[in-house]
């Protein structure tokens, strides 16, 4: 039910807070571990979780998420498995859950069947980095029918026309890609980012704007939170989840949460 995302942002707006949206790769290295991570993220105060769906050719991702995806594929995870996984954890959490998947698995699944099954399992929204607005009319129709939010990406290279288009098509929130680059690259906190985000907000019609790609340290998260409604952190969490102890990860998440306000 897509209302979960809206309700969460409405509440944050009332409270004057900003959303923390962590990304994890589903099934890296096992579904059991992902289940534990979801619990840990909820405890740490996440407002929404982005669940990565592994794909053989993740062309928008940097080395960290590529490697995480390879581990998840190794574990036999795919779009169908991720939807089943959401159905299972939906029994335990009311946190908004958003899938981040490449387009071909959705195309192969069938857009209508995907929207129906994902929404039915308790997925709230979907982000598809290689599906620009111009190619998404079919998916948008199906997603709307099943109350699944379609979250599109806007980029630093997008001109006003594109920003407007992306803002209009997005539901739930709008995802602003902070850098010209791939996931996990280095963030550049410059005036350009502030300018683009405020431009996007101007066109968003009140829809929340989330910023992601390259946010790694609590300081960066704080800086981005001062511009946007939500901060997305992916590669940095995926890396720590894969290499550090649970205690270290929890500590890092606590710092991120505290920085996003």
């Amino acid at each position: 039910m897509a209302l979960r995302i809206k309700r969460r942002f409405d509440r944050l707006r009332e409270e004057g807070g900003k959303a923390f949206i962590p990304y994890i790769m589903c099934g890296d290295p096992t579904l059991e571990k992902t289940g534990e991570l979801v619990g840990l993220l909820e405890e740490a105060g996440a407002d929404c979780i982005e669940l990565g769906v592994p794909f053989s050719d993740p062309l928008a991702d940097g080395p960290v998420i590529q490697a995480a995806g390879a581990r998840a594929l190794e574990a036999g995870v795919n779009l169908r498995v991720v939807i089943d996984f959401v159905r299972m954890i939906r029994k335990k959490t009311e946190l908004p859950l958003v899938l981040m998947t490449y387009y071909n698995p959705v195309f192969r699944y069938g857009e209508e069947a995907f929207a129906a099954d994902a929404a039915g399992a308790g997925v709230d929204g979907v982000i598809i980095p290689d599906l620009p607005v111009d190619e998404a009319s079919g998916l948008m129709k199906s997603a709307k029918r099943h109350a699944l939010d379609t979250i599109f990406l806007a980029a630093p290279t997008s001109g006003e026309d594109r920003l407007k288009k992306v803002a209009r098509a997005s539901r739930g929130f709008i995802y602003f890609v902070s850098i010209t680059g791939i996931t996990g690259a280095r963030l550049e906190l410059d005036s350009r980012l502030a300018g683009s985000v405020s431009k996007l907000k101007e066109f968003s019609g009140g829809k929340p704007v989330a910023v992601g790609f390259g946010v790694s340290t609590p300081e960066e998260a704080a800086a981005v939170a001062s511009l946007a409604d939500a901060v997305i952190v992916g590669s940095a969490i995926v890396k720590k989840a894969a290499s550090g102890t649970t205690g270290e990860l929890a500590d890092y998440l606590k710092k991120l949460r505290a920085a996003i306000r």
């Binding site: 050719d57 387009y103 071909n104 699944y109 290689d130 990406l153 980029a155 290279t157």
Partner: protein
């Protein structure tokens, strides 16, 4: 038809970051097509630098050996750098320079497109980085060194299957990161719009020349065209000028070790419709949409998808698609070398393998044009390795 589409195939499935660059490229490309000065500059380079027109050669001894239709070879192997790839690479390099880009990147499988792009970059004074899978770097070591000699940086790609598709992923990641100063010289009629149309147009000089040449030589159009299809740029280049004519066309995919073995790159014989690296077309994929590994003795045909216009031409029935196995291609490779003194690229040998099957079924009055898309120097080492010959 929706812009950038060939029937239901094609489109522009890439991250938003690249969309403005593709729109800019589309505008620049269509403007250049109308820009007389640009066209004259390109034509002069094609003549003086690439060496166009390339000959249309009647393969007399091959024809006699096969005993049937007359076989003509369109000699793209005689272009500067040794393959048709230069037609497109130079065109795009010129366009990039006009667009004010200072850096070119490209993917390469067999190395021919990488060499062609590195050549264009050297000629026009642009920076250049070429992405190449580590598997391909081994089997095309000669081309790796050529690219380096030409001043390009060769970046080894050791993710995924370490072949062409992975090089394209890396090139797209580079482009996404450096899009403001970099042009991505995509080497085939694939990827997001406008690449399939633009690359076809840069390559269509092949068919325009062949059409005029066969009319001069035989006083009539050919009965059959045959070309190999990896992404499909040499085939589109040859076919495009004949699409409205009463001429049969055959595209030849890489059959690898045979379709039933699963080790091949025959997308039409073994794939389904999918969306990959920017375009909707036929794709070798599993039931959940992950892209499958491919196999071909020829690095240039070793790719999981195929140009969207080919998918369209297949759907409308205009072009017939078939495949040749590694073994058949290697046999044709040897045959042309011995009978005509021409060592073909292993890619082109797939087209020849089809001509070997086709010519004897036709009467002596019929005409076949085979696109000899590249020369085989780059493959000599790999063929020796396969035959167990130590050099």
């Amino acid at each position: 038809m929706k812009r950038g589409y060939f029937g239901p195939f094609g489109g522009r499935f890439v991250p938003e970051t690249l969309i403005p660059a593709l729109m800019e490229l589309e505008d620049a490309y269509y403007a250049s097509a109308r820009d007389r000065a640009f066209q004259q500059e390109f034509k002069a380079l094609a003549r003086d630098y690439i060496g166009r027109p390339t000959p249309l050669y009647f393969a007399k001894r091959l024809t006699a050996h096969l005993g049937g239709a007359k076989v003509y070879l369109k000699r793209e192997d005689l272009t500067h750098t040794g393959a048709h790839k230069i037609n497109n690479a130079l065109g795009q390099a010129l366009l990039a320079k006009k667009m004010g880009k200072s850096r070119l990147i490209a993917e390469t499988g067999a190395g021919q497109h990488g060499v062609a792009t590195a050549t264009g970059a050297a000629l026009l004074g642009l920076e250049c980085a070429i992405y190449m899978g580590s598997v391909d770097m081994r089997r095309q070591a000669l081309n790796v060194f050529r690219m380096k000699l030409l001043g390009a940086q060769v970046r080894e790609v050791s993710t995924g299957s370490r072949t062409l598709k992975d090089s394209i992923n890396e090139a797209l990641r580079d482009w996404t990161t450096n899009v403001r100063n970099t042009h991505y010289v995509l080497g085939t009629v694939f990827g997001p719009h406008p690449f399939p149309s633009m690359v076809r147009d840069f390559q269509s000089v092949i068919g325009r020349e062949a059409r005029a040449q066969i009319l001069r030589a035989e006083g009539r159009l050919p009965d059959h065209l045959v070309a190999c299809v990896g992404g499909g740029s040499n085939a589109m280049g040859l076919f495009n000028a004949f699409l409205k004519d009463n001429v049969r066309m055959t595209g030849v995919e890489a059959g690898g070790k045979g379709i039933e073995s699963g080790e091949h790159a025959a997308r039409f014989a073994g794939g389904q419709i999918g969306v990959f690296q920017g375009a909707k077309s036929y794709l070798l994929q599993d039931e959940v949409g992950n892209v499958l590994g491919t196999h071909s003795v020829s690095a240039g045909l070793d790719y999981a998808s195929v140009g969207p216009e080919h998918a369209f031409l297949r759907e409308t029935g205009r072009v017939r698609y078939t495949y040749a196995t590694d073994e058949e291609a290697l046999e044709a490779f040897g045959l042309l070398s011995r009978l005509e003194g021409i060592i073909p690229a292993l890619e082109s040998a797939h087209a020849l393998a089809e001509a070997v099957k086709l010519a004897p079924t036709l009467s002596a009055g019929k005409l076949i044009i085979v696109n000899l898309s590249g020369r085989g120097d780059k493959d000599v080492q790999e063929v020796a390795r396969i035959k167990g010959v130590e050099l």
